[in-house]
């Protein structure tokens, strides 16, 4: 009867991992780390948190009537399921009394009583069935509906959060909140609350009924309750710790599986299978041990309840015995009392035990609720202001006015970046890794907000625009082509949802993707396996180019878009590039010289600042940083500014 679903609801990265193991000979520790700036997990152990519960009420509100229905049916259900012993105790007392009287009238009375009480019990069975069914229908509906609403709401909220959030948080941890934590909450809101409620109701009903039956015996029977209470208080303290450890252990195990599957190609090529398995077995075993520790605690409740309920039964029978032998009660009365009390004592401990078992569920649900609200409470860094301007169309002028930007406070990425781009102009951004090129492109579509200066598109401050109206006419191609599950057609159409099949094909033709797509057995309807793993990187990038082009953007951003592709694909893209860039404002970060050379202006950046601007020829003539960079790339000689190339001594 001891069950709490182990770590099942814990997800695979829901808890803090152990500290990173360091030192010689230690294996790579793949546990999740506690983030410096991430969400904290310290509240895992709380069992009841009023503030959290209050926040859950709005989720119930739309189902107000169903919830009330569930409440009423719970009350009826409790009443019906605890009434039978009382009725039976009364019935036995009356019927046996009548039988023992032995007169014809009393015997008739006994027959009538039997029929009455029997029918009453049957009627109760019917009521119980109906109320239980009704209760489950209501709670099932509310629970699953709430699950849907919460998930949908979290999903929407996650999409509102800016990229800086995603730079910080692990996908796996966010996932477990949306998939697993909401389930624990659903359990709480449906079965959890109502179970506790019906258990409490049951306790109350039993106490009232046993006092109605016989106050002295009732007091005797309930005398063991304080003992139970003391035990539970002590027990709970250990249990809280044990169950936290269980969740941590399973989170570590699951994170480890996840990482090993993601990196399986490296694992195999480095022949790490045995080492990894050894390491995993240790983690897996630790998880088992934590679970068994918790199981021992959980199981220990049973003997105690048994012993206490027996003590209570013994005491009651003893007192009834005393009275019977003293002749204070008749045999019939004694039998009725004995029956009623033994049944109730047994029943009394059922809800007590249930509440104990609900304990872990409560604890888990509180932790889950906490994590869910952590997501929902994370403020989106970027929101459209009230009365934001909707751009009917984008012309393509982009102005950076003394822009200051940093991802982390104090670590400047762009310092006083000032650049004015005419509509249709193509700009190549050049500089070392970390010079701030990508940041410039990420700011154009307001993926991040800046700390100083202004960015204007067509003369409108970005912060005053409806972001969607801007991105509608802006496309980005990133270094890593990211595609979604679905067909190639659907992926290209991602750039413009109302694009016709002809538009899709036209875009694919324009970027040179058409050729390979047509060769696939299903052409544009080819379904991509997990994000296009069945295509080469180059092919995926061609699709993401087509996706960018189908939007017919006025502003186009290519962030190392050809960096990861093979030379063949690159050549295809090179050919398409001039048509793509034509008439569009574009920002291009590229490693290939021909791409850079063909830009209208080349912006050379260093440490977040513009050091040179001009066309290729101008910059070469200037003999500055660009000329150095240029030479260095195509010769092996280091330039005078050294560029920190370590001397290649053999």
């Amino acid at each position: 009867m001891a069950y709490w679903g182990g770590g099942g609801a814990g997800g695979w990265s829901g808890g803090p991992g152990g500290g990173p193991q360091r030192g010689r000979g230690t294996q790579v520790d793949m546990t999740t780390r506690r983030g410096i700036d991430g969400w904290d997990y310290d509240d895992l152990g709380k069992v009841y948190d009023t503030a959290l519960i209050r926040r859950l009420i709005p989720f119930i509100r739309p189902h107000k009537w169903r919830a009330i229905g569930a409440l009423i049916s719970t009350v009826i259900l409790s009443a019906t399921s605890y009434a039978p012993p009382f009725i039976m105790a009364l019935a036995v007392k009356r019927i046996i009394g009548s039988v023992q009287e032995g007169t014809p009238e009393s015997l008739d009375q006994a027959v009538a009583d039997t029929q009455f009480y029997g029918l009453l019990l049957v009627a109760l069975a019917g009521v119980m069935f109906l109320s239980a069914m009704f209760q489950r229908l209501m709670t099932g509906y509310i629970g699953h509906h709430m699950l849907r609403d919460l998930r949908s709401m979290m999903f929407a909220h996650l999409n509102r959060l800016s990229l800086s959030f995603y730079d910080r948080e692990e996908v796996g941890r966010i996932m477990s909140r949306v998939t697993s934590d909401v389930v624990t909450l659903q359990e709480l809101m449906t079965s959890g609350f109502l179970n506790v409620l019906s258990d409490l109701l049951g306790l109350t009903i039993i106490i009232v009924l046993v006092y109605l039956l016989d106050p002295v015996l009732a007091t005797v029977a309930l005398a063991v309750i304080p003992l139970l209470f003391v035990f539970m208080v002590i027990w709970q303290r250990y249990a809280a710790r044990a169950f936290i450890r269980v969740r941590q252990a399973i989170a570590i195990v699951n994170a480890n599986i996840n990482e090993n599957v993601s990196g399986v190609r490296v694992v195999q090529s480095m022949v790490r299978e045995e080492t990894n398995l050894e390491h995993f077995e240790a983690l897996n075993d630790q998880n088992r041990r934590m679970n068994l520790d918790a199981a021992k605690l959980q199981a220990s409740v049973m003997p105690l309840v048994e012993v206490l309920s027996t003590v209570a039964t013994m005491l009651v029978l003893f007192v009834i015995g005393l009275r019977a032998f003293d002749g204070r009660v008749t045999g019939a009365e004694a039998a009725g009392l004995a029956l009623g009390f033994t049944l109730y004592i047994q029943r009394f401990f059922n809800p007590v035990r249930d509440i104990v078992l609900q304990y872990t569920m409560l604890q888990r649900a509180m932790a889950g609720a906490h994590r869910i609200f952590e997501v929902l409470d994370t403020e989106p860094a970027i929101v459209d202001p009230l009365g934001a301007v909707e751009l009917a169309d984008v012309e393509g002028r982009v102005d950076f006015e003394h822009v200051k930007f940093s991802y982390i406070e104090g670590v400047a990425v762009l310092r006083d970046f000032d650049l004015h781009v005419e509509p249709g102009e193509s700009i190549a951004l050049v500089g070392h890794t970390g010079a701030g090129k990508t940041s410039v492109t990420a700011l154009v579509n307001r993926s991040y907000d800046i700390q100083g200066g202004r960015i204007l598109v067509d003369g409108h401050d970005l912060t005053q625009l409806q972001r969607a109206s801007l991105t509608r006419r802006m496309s980005v191609v990133l270094q890593e082509p990211y595609l979604f599950s679905g067909t190639i057609r659907e992926n290209i159409r991602y750039g413009r949802l109302d694009a016709s099949d002809a538009d899709v094909t036209a875009a694919a033709v324009a970027v040179g993707a058409d050729e390979f797509v047509e060769q696939l057995p299903n052409g544009y309807d080819t379904v991509l396996h997990e994000r296009g793993q069945n295509l080469s990187v180059g092919q995926r990038q061609l699709i993401s180019f087509a996706r960018a082009l189908v939007a017919d953007p006025r502003i186009l951003i290519l962030d190392e878009a050809t960096a990861n592709v093979d030379t063949h694909t690159e050549k295809i893209i090179q050919r398409a590039l001039s048509t793509m860039l034509k008439g569009r404002t574009s920002f291009v970060i590229a490693h290939r010289l021909s791409t850079i050379r063909s830009a209208d202006r080349i912006v050379v950046m260093r440490d977040g600042e513009i050091v040179e601007v001009g066309s290729h020829d101008e910059l070469m003539a200037a003999e500055g940083v660009y000329a150095d960079l240029y030479r260095m790339t195509f010769t092996n000689a280091g330039s005078e500014d050294g560029v920190a190339v370590p001397a290649a001594t053999h």
Binding site: S131, M133, R151, N159, A299, L317, A324, Y630, P646
Partner: protein
């Protein structure tokens, strides 16, 4: 082959067979269960005895109206009975504790076994499996489904046994005490059993569907989260929301369907129980009046039925466990049973690499029957040679290098390293002899140090540093605040493509492989990094037979032989100058794609910078 490992055996039977591996635990648990059941059943009997004999209310036969005395029993009998009740309760407490713990232990151990098996299987399965497997699906099997299987034995099988024993013995006792009332009480059991099996059959397919839906939902979520940059760039939040909501909606309808089933099923079972209580009471009273039954017996009957309440209620729960275990088990076994097409031969010997000569003889390969990838590839790489593979996407370059460490097996022909067929040697020895720097560099969530010594966990810090220096990544590492202890991977320091690649080169250098594979398709680097990688690469390739999937002109020019591939065949072979002269496909590629790089270099020459051929400043 035992049932546990036989993929064709029924799922639930296989689960039981796996539990059988830990039969001592199972028997101990069952023993405790029997003890607990016996004492559980003893309690009502003792209570009935206490009432009848102890209190002595054995008066119902006396219909003549004789004065009934209520002290027919004796206080001592009552005390003895009460004492026995206490002993039974304490014994029962002990047995229940042992049983709960042991069953949980068995379940946890089974989960432990399964996780180890899944882990081991996943890392042994060849690329062919992982190309198709979706990580979200794999994870949901390793987590939720293992959980479903864990509960099967301790909360399914053992509890079922408990229910069966309890039902059999209690009803047996009742029937022997009073056949008529006992049989009436028993009549409800088949109703429960039939209802239970109907529900099982209806629930099973729904559960399967729900599990699948959960996987789908997780996939949409994961794609949305990992693809945030794209979602944001195209402002597709609403579109994504629709996709997600569609999944969540279906999930809601399916889950609610199961909830409706259970809403009927469990109260029905409970109602049946209460009904049986009422009917037994009715007939019990009639029997008492007829003098065929005592009040104590009726109390005992009612207690037995009360005892049955929890087990009868739990039948619905057990059915769920069985249904879930069946689908979850099937999904878990799908991984555990997966056979890798690449398997080590039983008599495989370790590979002995003396010179490092690699030979492909008439090698053909296909991922699946319809699409052949390589036809009849022949090549010889002399020891220490650098072989550059060149050709358009899909021409089979990657397949050639993936066949060498047996990430896939060829469909025809053979591959030899120093005369030994790669299929005749152990996988470990083969793969340790081959170093691979892949295009997609995967780093583990760990320190840079641990990532570098991933292939050789016993490498000393000095060795790690030496490798990092040779890979031209040392300077970068020491420039980080935590140096070699800098964490990388998710939530760690984000490394650029070029930095990752150099970490991978260092990692491979440390392995000191005899044969090297370098997927150079990546040019994901700025100019300076490219220079550093070139240097690192030169250090790595020295003295090793190397296969390079080449993109850079310089790599191609320096190669000892260039294999030009098209449509899975080697169409040209030779050195750069030879191939240029031949004016074939290579010349074409060169003119279209590589020349650009040379022109740029030439331009630099004109501007007066020196070209150094060998490398280094």
């Amino acid at each position: 082959m035992s049932i546990a490992t036989n993929p064709d055996a029924p799922v639930l039977l296989r689960l039981v067979a796996r539990a059988w591996w830990h039969r001592s635990m199972m028997f101990a648990s069952i023993f405790a269960l029997v003890g607990a059941s016996a004492l559980t059943i003893a309690a009502p009997w003792l209570t009935g005895y206490a009432i009848d004999t102890g209190l002595g209310v054995v008066t119902s036969t006396n219909l003549a109206g004789d004065e009934v005395t209520s002290v027919e029993g004796s206080m001592s009998t009552l005390m003895v009975t009460i004492g026995l009740l206490a002993a039974a309760a304490i014994g029962r407490g002990f047995f229940v504790y042992a049983q709960t713990y042991l069953a949980e232990r068995l379940g946890q151990t089974m989960a432990y076994d399964f996780r180890n098996d899944i882990y081991e299987r996943l890392q042994r399965l060849s690329y062919a499996y992982h190309d198709k497997a979706e990580i979200g699906q794999v994870m949901s099997r390793a987590t939720q489904d293992v959980e479903g299987v864990r509960m099967f034995v301790n909360m399914g099988v053992i509890r079922l046994a408990y229910v069966v024993v309890l039902v059999a013995v209690s009803y047996g006792l009742m029937i022997s005490a009073n056949a008529k009332v006992g049989l009436i009480a028993f009549a409800f059991v088949p109703v429960v059993a039939i209802q239970a099996s109907i529900v099982t059959m209806k629930l099973r397919p729904i559960w399967l569907g729900i599990q699948d839906l959960q996987g789908q939902m997780a996939n949409v979520l994961q794609e949305n989260l990992t693809g945030q940059r794209v979602v944001k760039a195209f402002s597709r939040a609403e579109f994504e929301q629709q996709k997600f909501d569609a999944k969540v909606d279906t999930l809601f309808h399916e889950s609610y369907r199961t909830a409706r089933f259970q809403a009927f099923n469990e109260p029905f079972l409970q109602g049946i129980w209460l009904l049986s209580l009422a009917v037994v009471f009715w007939f019990g009273v009639i029997e008492i009046r007829a003098g065929n039954m005592t009040a104590g017996e009726l109390t005992a009957f009612q207690l037995y039925l009360t005892l049955m309440q929890v087990p009868v209620r739990s039948i619905g729960f057990i059915i769920n466990i069985f249904a879930r275990a069946h689908s979850a088990g099937a999904r878990v076994f799908e991984i555990v049973d997966a056979r890798s097409p690449v398997e080590e031969r039983a008599d495989a010997k370790p590979l002995e690499v003396t010179r490092g000569e690699v030979r492909f003889e008439n090698v053909s390969f296909a991922y699946d029957a319809q699409s052949p990838v390589l036809h009849d590839v022949n090549l010889i790489a002399q020891p220490g040679q650098t072989v550059a593979l060149l050709g358009p996407t899909g021409s089979g370059k990657s397949s050639v290098v993936n066949l060498l460490p047996r990430f896939y097996d060829p469909t025809g022909g053979r591959i030899l390293i120093d005369g030994q067929d790669v299929r005749d040697v152990t996988l470990d020895s083969l793969r340790t002899s081959i170093g691979i720097v892949q295009q997609d560099v995967f780093l583990f969530i760990a320190s840079i140090r641990d990532n570098i010594r991933y292939g050789r966990p016993d490498a000393s810090d000095d060795e790690v540093i030496a490798a990092a220096k040779a890979a031209r990544i040392h300077d970068f590492i020491v420039s980080q605040p935590d140096g070699y202890d800098t964490w990388v991977g998710e939530r760690g320091t984000t490394l650029s493509g070029g930095q990752r690649q150099r970490v991978a080169i260092a990692r491979t250098l440390l392995l000191d492989p005899k044969v090297l594979i370098f997927d150079d398709s990546t040019a994901a680097v700025d100019m300076r990094t490219e220079f550093l990688i070139q240097e690192a690469l030169r250090n790595l390739m020295r003295g090793r037979t190397t296969f390079v999937i080449a993109q850079r002109l310089r790599t191609v020019m320096e190669a000892d032989q260039i294999l030009v591939m098209r449509d899975g065949e080697i169409v040209e072979q030779g050195r750069h100058e030879q191939l240029l002269e031949a004016a074939g496909f290579y010349r074409q590629i060169y003119d279209l794609e590589l020349r650009d790089q040379e022109e740029a270099a030439a331009a630099a020459v004109l501007e007066g910078a020196a070209i150094s051929e060998g490398g280094g400043a």
